[in-house]
Structure formats: C-alpha cells, structure tokens
Amino acid sequence: MELLLALSVGVLVAASVYLMLDRNILRFLFGLALLSNAVNLMIFASGRLTPGAPPLIDAGEYAPTGVVANALPQALVLTAIVIGFGLLAFTLALVYRTFMTLGTVNSDEMRVAEPVDAGKEAGK
C-alpha cells in the first residue's frame, strides 16, 4: 500500500505542477487545489499508515490500549487542510478580482507591475 500511495501522491504532484505551469490562471488554481491535497496526503503518510485504529482513548482507560494511528500528523494535516482552504479561497478572490480589473486570465498579459519594456530596460 505504501508504494501505491507514494505513486499516487507522485501523480497528484505531477498533475498539479503541470497545471500550475499553465499561463491560464484558472488551471493554475486547479493545480493549487490538487497540490494542497497531495501535500496533506504526504504529511499524513509520513506518519505511517495504521488501518482501523483511530487515536482514541477508551472509556475508563488513561491511554490508548494497543497500537493506534499516529495522532500527530493527523493534527498537522487538520491544520494544513484549513490553511490550504484559506489560501485557495483567497487565491480564488484574487483571480476573480484580477479578471474583473484586467479582463484576462492569462498570466503573461498581466504586466501592470512589470511591463515588458521595463524588463528589457532592466536587462540592459
């Protein structure tokens, strides 16, 4: 399972990187969403995979009985999911505002801060 999961994470990462390299920022956005899933899965898997034993303490006990899943990466991933969502929501708003203001979703055409001519000047 570990091998297959690692391969799946690899596919997820490859797909999201290819999308993020697109000049269409909608596709960039899809890539960002996939990448946050890939990274969460990776953090989770690096804490090892334990099927069927959630990190809970039975009533009357003071510690888990037997081996339970690693609680630490779960806590990290929970935080990461929420942060990733915040990032994505903000990016979404940014993309929306950008299109409303500039009228394009092509990142190459967004040269307000760095006009093409200025880039050439700086290069000289």
């Binding site: 596919v11 000049r23 999911i81 708003a93 299109f99």
Partner: protein, 761 residues
C-alpha cells in the same frame, strides 16, 4: 586635488586629530617596550570566542608580528601626524581619521591573530578600510572607480583565501596558527596541499598586487597621499607578504612554492620597475616601485633559504622606511607647488631644504648606496640569490639585479631631479612644509641612515626574530655594512653603474616606453573594465532568463530547482537503492479503487478543457484523499477534508460563473518542457515519500501525546486534544490566518468592476 574644499578651521585636526595621533604613538611605545621580551621567543595569548567553531580571539606575538606591529604603529604615528596638518582643515577630516584608525586596528589584528578565522576577519577590515580611504574624495568619479576596483580585486582574493583557510583548518584539525605552523610536514604531504597553497596565494597575490592582479594598486593612488604612504606602500599591501611569510613554515619549502613565488615575484618586480620608468607623475612612479618591492619580497620569501628570508625581512623594513618617507615627501611637494609632474619640478632644495633632505635620505636608501640600510638590504638580496641552486640562483639574482638598477634610477628621478638645478616655475609658489608634515619623512629618513650605521640593533631586535619566525629554525642573524669584497659587492657596484646610466637617459627611455605602451595590445586596466562589463552582461542575461516577469517562468525555475536539488542529492548519495521493502502485495480492492479515484481525478483535471469537468476531477481527487484518511484511522481529518472539498467545489463553481472559459483544445499545445518538470517533481516526491516511510519511525512525540492526553487534558480524542490544548496557540494562529484570508478576499471583492463573461462555444 586635495586643496579644493571649503576649509574648516581646526588646530591639528581638532580632537579627532589628537586622538588619531595618540593611538598609534601609545601603541608604538607599548610594543617597543615588549621588544626585548619578544626577541627571546614568541608569545601566544588567547580567549575563546566561538569555541564550537574553533574561532578564538588569540594573539601570536613573535618576531614577524612584532616587526609588522612596529611598522604599523610607528609609520602610523608619522602618517597621522602628517594627516592632521595635510587634511586637518578638510570638512570630512573626522571621517578620514575614523577610516584610518579602523584600518590601523584591522591591520594590527591581522598581524597579531593566532586564529585563522580572526586573521580573515581583520584581513577583510583592512580591505574595507582601504576601499573607504581610496574613495575618500567621493565626488571624484575616478576615485570611486579606483576604490571599487581595489575592493573587488582584494575582496575576491579575500574570499578565495577564506576557502583556503577553511581547507587548511580542516586538514590541520585546528585554526590556531601557533599549532598549524608546527605541522608543516603533515600539511605538505597532504593531498590537498596544492589546493591550499593556490587558495592562499590567490589571497596573498591580490592583496599584495602581484602581476596579473597588480593594476588596482597604481589606481589606488587616487587616495589622499598619507593613505598611499600608509596603506598602499608601507602596510596593507604587505598583508599578502605577511601571509606568505607567516605560512612559510606550514606551506613553504616545496617546489611549487618556490617556483610560483619566485616566478610571479620576479615578473612583478621587473614589470613594475619598467612601468615605474614610464610614469611622469612622481606619485605613480612611487606606486610602481612599491609593486616592484612587493614582487621582490614575494620572490625572496619563495626562495626560502635562511639568507633569502633574512633578506626579505630586512628589505621589508628597509622599504617601509624609505617608501613611506618618499610618499610623504611627494605629498609635501604637491601641497607646496601644486604639481607632482617630474618634468615640471626642479631646484626645490633652495626653498624646501628640509623636504629635500628627507627625500635625499630616503632615496639614497632606496638606491642602495652605503651607508644607508638600503645598501645592506640589497647586499643580502644578492647574497641570498647567489646562494640558491641551479636556474633559481640565476633567475632570482637577475631579477633582483634588474629591480635594483631601476630602484637606483628611480631614486634619482624622485629625489634628485626635483630638488637639483634651477628653480622651475610651478602652479603655486613653493614653500617649505610645516613641521608636522616634515617630522615623519625626516625621522623615517634618519632611521634609514641610523640602521645603516648600526645594523646590529635592527638585526637583533627585528630582523633576527622575524627571520626565526618565518624560517622556522633559529639560526644566527648578523647584519653588517661591510662584508668584504665579494660577488655581492661587485654586483652592487655594477648596479650603481647601470642605475646611473639609466637615470641619465631616463627621459628618452620614458618616451620610448610610452610609444611602446601605446602600441601594446595588453592593457590590464581596460581588461578589468571588459571583465566587469562581461559580468554585468552575464547578470543581465541570467536575469532575463530566470526573472523575465513571466509567472510561468518563475514557477518552472522553482520546480526545476527542486527536482535538480533533491533528485540530484538522491542520485549523488545513491539513495535510490535505499528504498526497499515497499510492495504492492496485499492491497485490498477497495484501496485500489480509492487510489484509482485520486489518480483518475488528477489526470482528468489536467486533460480536460472544460471547467466543469476540471472541477469534478479536482473534487474526485479530494474525496479520494478523504477516503484514504478514513481507511487509515483519521476520521476527524476525513470529515474536515470532505467538508472543505465540498466547499472548494462550490466556491470555485460560483466564481467560474463570472470567469471566462478555458481555451479550446485546438488553441492549446502540449508543453513538453513543463511536462518533464512536472513529471520530475512527481517522481522526486514519490521517492521522497517512499524513503521517509522506509526509515525507522520515532514515535516519542506521539507516545507523549498518547499518555498525557487524558491525564493532563482530560480528552479521549487525542487529535482534538493536540489541536485545542497542547498546540492551542497553533490553532489560534490558524484561525487568524483564515480570518486574514477572509478579510483580504472581502477587500478584493468589494467594489470590483463587473465584466460580462464570454459565451462558451
């Protein structure tokens, strides 16, 4: 010139001037008191500074550092006294003095350091001080250029030296010089010896301006004259010489050492002496003779015999005495007449007798005429050269001879010609210099004479101990004025004859050299400009390449860097073989299905050109991830993931209502380069995850949370306890992040202009 400034009325530079004079004077007297003690043997004192890195504030005071310390403080006192009068009324004089003192401290630290890292720190302080002092007249474009050139050349050398210091420290196992110097045999036999040597010499040769790194030194004459006398003649440029001398017991004595030093030193000495003949500005003449002296010193340190080291140490002192005096002298002449052109000056001894006396004393020492100490210096150089074996003897003696002939001639040009004959008209009416400016050159000139008459004192207290420190063995050092009639004396007489002939004809020689230089294709200074232009062009090229303003390019560079760095590390460390024991056996069909869902969702998102399909693919992958969380015992995570995924799909779909469609398939093309980067990133990530999961797992932190969760926080859901109790501040931070994102998104959406989306076709 230095006169074009609004004058400020200060007596001897005001408080800044007095402090600057007192500092080197007191230190000079203090170290002079230590002289008898150090003549008996070296001392090491130290305190720890960064013990974990082996960096200590330790001091090594032996004959070599003592010689340098006395030169730095003694000439420093003369120079600061001179400067107080020369620049004391300059509005920026306090700034000048602080640079000068900064340099003095750096130089003292450099020669006294016992720790290599300390040595490097002080080495760099002198470089920076030199930069600031050369560029002191900062409104002059030429001064700024020269300052930057000196900084870049010596600074680059300094960084190379740092590499050498670290390699040497690694090989020796210590950064303390007093220990390293005893390990010479081990270091010379080490396979890294040559690398250490070359790195050290790169630092020494740039600092001490050996050909082909010499060009910055004549340009450094843009600095005020006291600076030229002090930094760029008597002390700082000798830091490279100091380094070679200091490292001689550890690095010296090999063939590589001998030939590199004698060849570079010899070429520098002769090249510089020819160039000195070419100059018309007396300060430039002196600059090139300084180069010549540095070359000569390098050559004799390279020669490495006891006599050669002795000759080098003697010449070091001799040169500092006469050259500082000559520089200060030409400053007085410049101040008094308004020019430094050799052709214009003449007959000055009538109005400036004391300046003329100082010039004469220094120049006679430079020419190597008895009874000055310069004569003894030259005799010992010839003896040392003749004492070598084979081609080395011929080369060193010939180079020393050629340089000495030129020094004789140059002595005449700088000190005889301006003062002899009829008084010539100059831009200003000449007058005798004031006493603070005359004191230094006169005392230094007098010392040249006194040491010539009683060389034994110099030998016992300075040259002897310094030679011991550099040579590594204690052998008797006796200096004498008259050594009987021998080969060295005959060579000396030949030197005088040849030098006199060159001096007589120096004007026609200069004209011929000027004509030759005009035709010569080799111009180091112009080459430097081309090198800098090349660097700038390279920087511009790589900026255009990596930072061209395109988001795609930035992303591609970042991901490609990740692939190359992490993947490259895997390849180099052979870690791809170290990922065993992970097999696909025993995978449940449900697991296959879930992983298939994730992979299919990801591929669908990439493949499709419909926004709705892409959102569906994205959602499918997200739900697959949440199913993984459920399967592997993370119900809380799975629920959150599911909620967030639904929210993402809804939000993205809403926003898409107002955004344009994706370009049609016919309008897009497959980006092979990006596919390679993406595939590489995925591959490296897969290996990274596999190797993480294949290593032993440290459960300590997890166990801590498991056993303390209930007793301390009274929670049975460990994940929840971590989030709201153990790591509550993290969770609070997370809430803040989401709140900020929400506020920022609100700000973005508020008042956005409305635009009608294009129709899907």
């Amino acid at each position: 010139m230095a006169d074009d400034y609004p004058s400020v009325d200060r007596v001897m530079g005001g408080p800044a001037g007095w402090i600057s004079i007192a500092f080197p004077t007191i230190l000079f007297l203090y170290f002079l008191g230590l002289l008898p003690e150090i003549a008996q043997g070296p001392q090491v004192h130290g305190i720890e500074w960064v013990p974990s890195l082996g960096v200590n504030l330790s001091v090594l005071l032996d004959g070599l550092s003592m010689t340098f310390v006395l030169l730095i403080t003694g000439i420093g006192a003369a120079v600061t006294l001179y400067s107080a009068r020369y620049l004391g009324n300059h509005p920026d004089y306090p700034r000048f003095v602080s640079y000068l003192l900064m340099f003095m401290i750096g130089m003292l630290g450099l020669v006294l350091a016992d720790n290599l890292i300390m040595l490097f720190v002080f080495w760099e302080i002198t470089t920076i001080a030199s930069y600031l002092l050369i560029g002191f007249n900062a409104d002059n474009a030429n001064a700024r250029r020269s300052a930057l050139q000196a900084l870049l050349v010596t600074g680059t050398g300094g960084l190379i030296l740092l590499a050498g210091l670290i390699v040497l420290g690694t090989v020796a196992g210590t950064f303390e010089l007093s220990q390293i110097l005893t390990m010479g045999d081990m270091i010379r036999a080490h396979p890294w010896y040559l690398a250490i040597l070359l790195l050290f010499l790169a630092g020494a040769f740039t600092k001490s301006a050996q050909v082909p790194f010499h060009f910055w030194l004549p340009n450094a004459m843009a600095a005020p004259t006291p600076v030229s006398a002090y930094l760029h003649s008597a002390t700082m440029v000798k830091a490279g010489i100091f380094l070679m001398a200091r490292m001689n017991p550890a690095l010296g004595g090999t063939d590589a050492w001998f030939w590199i030093l004698t060849l570079f030193g010899g070429v520098t000495a002769v090249f510089a002496s020819v160039m000195a003949m070419r100059q018309t500005d007396i300060k430039q003449v002196l600059a090139y003779t300084t180069l010549m002296a540095l070359g000569t010193l390098t050559m004799f340190i390279g020669a490495g015999t006891h006599y050669a080291i002795m000759a080098a140490m003697l010449f070091l002192v001799v040169h500092s005495l006469y050259k500082a005096a000559l520089f200060l002298m030409i400053g007085i002449v410049d101040h008094a007449t308004g020019t430094r052109e050799a052709a214009v000056l003449g007959g000055l001894s009538k109005v400036m007798p004391l300046t003329g006396l100082a010039a004469a004393l220094a120049a006679i020492s430079m020419a190597g005429i008895p009874p000055m100490v310069g004569f003894i210096g030259k005799e010992f150089m010839y003896k040392a050269g003749l004492g070598l074996e084979g081609f080395g003897a011929f080369w060193v003696t010939m180079m020393a001879f050629a340089a000495s002939v030129m020094m004789f001639a140059v002595g005449g040009i700088v000190a005889l010609k301006p003062f002899r004959g009829d008084l010539r008209p100059t831009p200003k009416a000449p007058h005798e210099g004031p006493w603070p400016m005359l004191a230094g050159p006169l005392v230094l000139g007098a010392l040249s004479l006194i040491f010539g008459l009683v060389p034994g004192v110099l030998g016992y207290y300075l040259v002897g101990p310094a030679t011991h420190a550099v040579f590594g063995q204690v052998l008797p050092v006796e200096l004498y004025l008259w050594g009987g009639i021998n080969m060295a004396l005959i060579l000396s007489l030949l030197t005088f004859l040849a030098g006199w002939l060159v001096y007589r004809r120096h004007q026609s020689i200069r004209d011929r050299l000027a004509a030759f230089e005009a035709r010569s294709p080799i111009d180091f200074d112009a080459g430097w400009d081309r090198l800098l232009d090349g660097f700038k062009a390279f920087a511009a090229w790589q900026t255009r390449l990596i930072q061209n303003g395109s988001l795609q390019r930035y992303m591609a560079v970042m991901f490609a860097t990740f692939v190359v760095m992490v993947g490259g590390t895997y390849l180099l460390k052979g870690a791809f073989q170290g990922v065993p024991g992970l097999s696909a056996d025993g995978v449940h069909p449900v697991q296959w299905t879930v992983l298939g869902l994730i992979v299919a969702g990801a591929i669908l998102t990439v493949w499709t050109h419909s926004r709705m399909t892409a959102i569906a693919g994205m959602g499918a992958a997200g739900i697959g991830v949440s199913l993984i969380f459920i399967m592997f015992s993370a119900p809380d995570v799975a629920i959150t993931q599911l909620l967030v995924e639904v929210l993402v799909v809804v939000l993205v779909s809403i926003v898409m209502l107002r955004l344009p469609y994706l370009p049609r398939r016919s309008k897009t093309r497959f980006r092979t380069g990006h596919a390679v980067i993406a595939g590489g990133t995925g591959l490296v990530t897969t290996f990274l995850l596999m190797s993480v999961m294949a290593t032993d797992f440290d459960r300590r932190l997890t166990t801590f949370f498991e056993v303390t969760s209930y007793p301390e926080a009274h929670g049975r859901n460990i994940v929840n306890v971590i989030l709201v109790d153990f790591r509550a501040m993290d969770t609070f931070g997370e809430i803040v992040v989401v709140a900020i994102a929400a506020i920022a998104a609100f700000a973005l959406l508020r008042g956005a202009p409305r635009r009608k989306p294009e129709e899907e076709s």
